[in-house]
Symmetry: C2
Subunit: 427 residues, 2 copies
């Protein structure tokens, strides 16, 4: 791509890890869709000298566009506009009309809070109406306006709260200054392939073979990564390399066909959602304690097929709410094939569902034994039409990894079951 | 602080936002605990020139220690060690003994996967045994070893998978090279205060007052941020400024006492966990669909007081599993004070619990109406001893924000109820 960009994420709370940055990745996606190559994301605290150093670094790297996020609030540690103005050699001036608009927003906002004197708040927000001379103002979504400062590089200053930044993005992209900055962009293709059950090393070997047999392989920019337990291969290429990509995929399918579950960027969540259309699913969760139900309902419209679920954390809950036979738990333990199956049966029955998923395992750090170490998880997917699929795995990582990974395993087991990949007599 | 550090996060999957970086924030926390000031986190893709540019930038900024994460895998896009070696002007050599150790790890690992030829995998991993001359090797946790390259700056190269990086950290910190790099560090105090129900602007005004009345205020490095719906104030200061901090807190308590819920860094999750000791809690969730139960059980040992919960996404589930009167839903709608209360009643009863939390709301994007717009959420906390607390809010943001924010509101309502802040006749 001939147009490059950099993102400067400001905020001591982000730098120190107290708040996870959601803006860098989101802006990165938007830039890619535009055909703008993102070269760097830099994160620094609320320190003028560090923010300026990052702006200088990105300018020295020759980027055409710098997007900054955060530091537009009313507190003293919010200084991004001031620093960007200085970096761009422009004065700050008060935009009276903008100040009035911010005040209006605040009046309604203050209703939500207690213990705040409105005039004080308005004074605190006056600095948010100071804009660099010649910059284009982007209307505030919350109380903080954004600004676009034209130049080489052009600097786009956006607020920190993700929903404010995202709502402001279209106006920012529509601005003349941004349009001029990205005029040289070229659209690349990006194709994403997702695999489950394959080691990254196995794919690496396949790619080395492809390098030998696929003409034009060198023109494909391939990145692979493990993502929530799945293996993801993303390939970027110019339109002229479409043929090379097709041949690469032929090699990948030939080697790993059965493990490739998505070639169009769809997540397993999307695929499962489609397969659940017209069905009625219920969950029965122990160690994941609601994460699977929450994941299924992340998708808007999931109420059409999600009936609900039971978080049966205590054994009594498995018995009382899912009808698991207490004797089964005594005989085999709560983390067992038998209990997983009984939990799925109970979910089907109690929710009058036609599809059920049960998860019971040991997330740790405590509770592990020699024969059932931390990470041992049993899964059961059951369909009213008669299929029952049961699996167990020993998952690596910490408590949160094991819980999250369990939901991924369950989604894949659910997908394959709904696709009819298992016989009715699996269990 | 007299010792500064920078973090270089590598990985196109991170730069492009396909994978959220968990390492930067984690390493940032560890560095702070050590008294090392983190100046910059930079993120770039798997491109040699960009990685090198970031290393040069951090070196030019005069940091004493650079920590890199990622790019230690077997695939061609994993090139961090090679680039760091070049940056530090050191040759790469094969560590045969290390190669043997990696092979051993792989043999056991391969058991988990299908469709992989072990020798191919081992070949793919040979490059992971190439280390810079004079560098200290950090034993692999997964298959990738880390390295510490002494110098100014010293470069610590760590793997990308968070659990591998975290397990390797102690050995890295114990290495002579790292110890020498951070010898000049000075310990700062850091105190965190958390508030709920206060606007950032209100706190900003309070801080301006403190600036006038607190001697030595200028020596306090204060950052404030909104975090999952809470307002967080973090203050860093040298030991000699402890008095100034005490006076600052007197001002904050005087202005916002009732809204300050934590002064020792505890999260509301921790406070609720302590208050639940000896109790038995159950949840009844509609729009959050398990997120609250999952949040309560994020904490190891929560099985001592979490019985479980019902995700009652469909109305029939509210009736069948929680015993909500269908007529109540018809009369007031599923998102109503009456249904929230009935859900909490059902959770108490069905789980034989003494504490119950119910959440029912409209997460959107669809389902909103004029009188119940998207973001409308009803909460009910009920204690067996007789207290019932009911609240409703209209939460801002998108579906995921509304769902997450709802769990935060529920945690605070639960905390205040368990503290007895509400009368028995609240509802």
């Amino acid at each position: 791509m001939s147009t490059r960009a950099g993102i400067v994420v400001t905020g001591t709370e982000v730098l120190t890890g107290r708040v996870a940055d959601r803006n860098g990745p989101w802006v990165a996606d938007r830039l890619f869709e535009l055909g703008v190559e993102l070269a760097h994301i830099t994160i620094c605290g609320d320190r003028a000298s560090d923010i300026e150093a990052q702006l200088r670094f990105l300018a020295a790297e020759g980027v055409d566009l710098i997007v900054t996020t955060g530091g537009l609030g009313p507190t003293a540690d919010d200084m991004t506009v001031e620093i960007v103005a200085r970096f761009c050699g422009r004065e700050l001036v008060l935009d009276a009309e903008l100040e009035a608009r911010i005040a209006a927003v605040l009046k309604s906002l203050m209703a939500r809070y207690t213990g705040v004197d409105f005039d004080a708040v308005r004074a605190a927000n006056r600095k948010q109406a100071m804009v660099p001379v010649g910059a284009q103002v982007l209307d505030p979504v919350g109380t903080a306006p954004g600004v676009v400062v034209p130049g080489k590089p052009t600097v786009l200053v956006l607020p920190g709260p993700p929903w404010e930044l995202q709502a402001m993005w279209p106006a920012a992209m529509a601005s003349d200054a941004v349009q001029q900055a990205i005029v040289g962009r070229t659209i690349y293709h990006q194709d994403t392939v997702r695999m489950f059950g394959l080691a990254e090393s196995g794919l690496a070997e396949t790619l080395r073979e492809a390098e030998r047999v696929v003409p034009g392989f060198a023109d494909l920019e391939i990145t692979t990564c493990l993502r929530r337990g799945e293996l993801e291969m993303v390939t970027r290429y110019e339109p002229r390399s479409a043929g090379a990509y097709r041949q690469l995929m032929a090699v990948v399918r030939d080697r790993h066909g059965a493990l490739v579950f998505s070639e169009d960027g769809s997540l397993v969540d999307d695929l499962v959602a489609r397969l659940l259309a017209g069905r009625r699913i219920a969950t029965a969760e122990s160690c994941t304690a609601g994460l699977l139900a929450a994941r299924l309902t992340d998708i808007a419209g999931s109420s059409a097929y999600v009936a609900g679920g039971v978080v049966a954390y205590a054994n009594e809950a498995k018995v009382d709410l899912l009808g698991v036979d207490a004797a089964l738990i005594d005989a085999h333990g709560a983390v067992s094939q038998e209990v997983a199956k009984a939990m799925a049966d109970g979910a089907l029955r109690r929710f009058d569902a036609d599809t059920a998923v049960a998860i019971t395992g040991i997330a740790g750090p405590g509770g592990g034994t020699a024969d059932k170490p931390v990470g041992t998880v049993w899964f059961c997917v059951k369909l009213a039409e008669g299929t029952t699929v049961i699996r167990s795995l020993r998952l690596p990582g910490q408590r949160s990894d094991i819980r999250d990974r369990s939901t991924t395993v369950a989604m894949h087991l659910l997908r394959r079951t709904l696709l009819g990949e298992f016989g009715a007599l699996e269990a």
